[in-house]
């Protein structure tokens, strides 16, 4: 097929899936936080509030889009655009699965396989700072300015330990292309321990993984590092003066960054789409088993309903789940779906961690945040990199 048309189709699919994920990530976050805090979360719009993201989009689009009179208009309008653009571009180098081979048709589940993919992501995350910094400065408001300054300082500081944490697994896996990184993490020790970077010899990268996740929380301005928008000190930080779709752009950028960072963590440390245990122990049947179990539970509760609507909704959900379980057993389709399942499962776990931490930890103080980055994470990352490099040099042929 024509390369150009194929790329367009793939870009459209990836963009659609990514934007839907972003919308529903927010629903999941509200639900999980609500249950952590013993509430029920959104449940008015649609069953279990499932149409809430749609309602939010309509709300954000129909809100008054006002531009305060005291802002620097060009940069004020440019900032959300920059933030959301650089947040969304990064997804283009992320591979989601192995190659698709149907007859003579062959394509990779990825928009483009750069051989400097990791560096590309690092570069984009560095440029992403400008959106926030400019928003804070252009708003011409002391809270926004402080938020923007804090955020740029925080992102510069945490980029260093993040880059050093990324460098350690790269030393072992010996490539910068995401696809080859995942290939280098295939296989098992003793037949059952996966050779993911966090388990791989000569030096398992668990410390790097921890450092990367913590730095990633700071890079995406999430709790406990959400100083740029600390409400009790800074109103809403850098986006105080933004409303309607411009506010939505910042919101989307934050969630897109979360998804990208989770994908990078999965690809670098958790073996991408490599299964948790080998196929001879039934790894290929696990998705079917999970979906079938979910479907059966739904069916059971549909037959013994606790609430009046459950008689209709739960059997439908159950049949859909059983259908998905059956689809995972079709040979040709399952070769495409299985890697996607493992990849999505790992990304989902990290995203859940994000939400869990938000429901659990309080916010750092600003000086704690800075001293944590420079006096703890940075030296630890350097030591970790040094030990990894030494062991790799000693064990390589």
């Amino acid at each position: 097929m024509n390369f150009f048309i194929l790329s367009l189709i793939k870009a459209a699919v990836v963009a659609f899936v990514l934007l839907t994920t972003l919308a529903y990530l927010q629903w999941i976050e509200r639900k999980v936080i609500a249950h952590i805090q013993l509430r029920v979360g959104p449940r008015r719009v649609g069953p279990h509030g499932l149409l809430q993201p749609l309602a939010d989009v309509v709300k954000l689009m129909t809100k008054e889009d006002m531009i305060p009179s005291h802002v620097n208009k060009v940069f004020y309008l440019l900032a959300p655009f920059l933030a959301v653009t650089f947040a969304l571009i990064s997804i283009s180098v992320i591979p989601f699965g192995t190659e698709i081979n149907i007859g003579s048709f062959k394509t990779a589940m990825q928009l483009t396989d750069l051989n400097i993919g990791v560096l590309f992501i690092l570069g984009l995350s560095g440029i992403g700072v400008y959106g926030v910094a400019l928003a804070g400065w252009a708003s011409n408001n002391k809270y926004s300015l402080l938020g923007g300054l804090r955020s740029s300082a925080q992102m510069i500081s945490y980029e260093l330990p993040m880059a050093l944490a990324i460098a350690a697994p790269l030393l072992m896996l010996n490539t910068l292309s995401f696809r080859q990184l995942v290939d280098a993490q295939g296989g098992y020790y003793l037949g059952f321990i996966p050779r993911w970077a966090i388990f791989q010899g000569p030096f398992p990268q668990i410390i790097s993984f921890g450092l990367f996740v913590v730095a990633a929380f700071a890079e995406t301005n999430r709790v406990p590092f959400d100083l740029p928008e600390a409400e009790n000190e800074l109103v809403a930080g850098f986006h105080t003066e933004y409303s309607s779709m411009k506010f939505a752009a910042f919101f989307m950028a934050e969630y897109a960054n979360m998804v990208t960072v989770s994908c990078v963590a999965t690809l670098l440390f958790l073996g991408g789409w490599q299964p948790l245990f080998p196929p001879q122990y039934g790894a290929n049947f696990l998705p079917s088993l999970i979906f079938a179990a979910g479907g059966l539970v739904s069916l059971y509760h549909g037959i013994n309903p606790a609430r009046p609507f459950d008689r209709i909704t739960l059997p439908i959900t159950g049949i859909v789940f059983l259908g998905i379980a059956a689809v995972f057993l079709v040979p040709i389709v399952s070769t495409i779906l299985l890697p996607l399942f493992w990849f999505a499962a790992k990304v989902g776990v990290i995203l859940f961690l994000y939400i869990w931490v938000r429901g659990t930890l309080p916010r750092f103080r600003y000086d704690q945040l800075m001293s944590f980055a420079w006096t703890f994470m940075f030296p630890l990352a350097i030591v970790n990199l040094f030990v990894t490099g030494l062991l790799v040099a000693l064990t390589s042929k």
Partner: protein, 166 residues
């Protein structure tokens, strides 16, 4: 395709560079400079220097310019006031600049005569692997000397900054 992309990014780079000089506000100038860096990275990519392109993006556009913007924002530098220009600078400035550019162009042409045109995609040694090999074999001494130089600069910066505080 390559030459079309080259023309696009070269045009953006030149436009941003001109804008950098013309803008009165420091933030506008800084952003134009980022535009120049970004289009230069794209040009490196077109020539096959992938690693250089990524380094350009990470180091210049991502790290150095963030510090510039940071300082401009912290000091809240306002619009530049153009002082009354001298008469001779107003009339002689542009012709002298053109003359200088022409002279430099002539010298470059003399010293490095262009034997053949640039062909896109023929350079194959721009990958991180090749760069790493070159850095740690043929260019090991310059590489180490540069790192020592940077270390000295860092120490100097710290000493200067501390001296002011005490």
């Amino acid at each position: 395709m390559d030459s079309i992309l080259f023309l696009i990014f070269a045009a953006i780079a030149v436009a941003c560079a001109v804008n950098l000089v013309l803008q009165k506000h420091p933030i506008s100038s800084a952003l134009s400079l980022i535009g120049v860096m970004g289009s230069l990275a794209a040009l490196y990519l077109l020539l096959g220097g992938e690693f250089i392109a990524a380094a350009q993006l990470i180091v210049y556009a991502g790290a150095i310019m963030v510090l510039f913007v940071f300082v401009i924002m912290l000091l809240n530098a306002g619009t530049e006031n153009v002082e009354h220009k001298r008469l001779w600078s107003r009339y002689l400035g542009v012709p002298l600049l053109v003359a200088l550019l022409g002279f430099v162009g002539y010298i470059v042409q003399k010293v490095l005569p262009l034997s053949e045109g640039v062909r896109f995609g023929t350079f194959r040694n721009g990958s991180p692997l090749e760069i790493g090999k070159a850095l740690f074999t043929s260019y090991l001494l310059p590489f180490e000397v540069t790192s020592v130089l940077i270390l000295v600069a860092i120490l100097g910066a710290i000493v200067l900054a501390r001296g002011e505080v005490d």
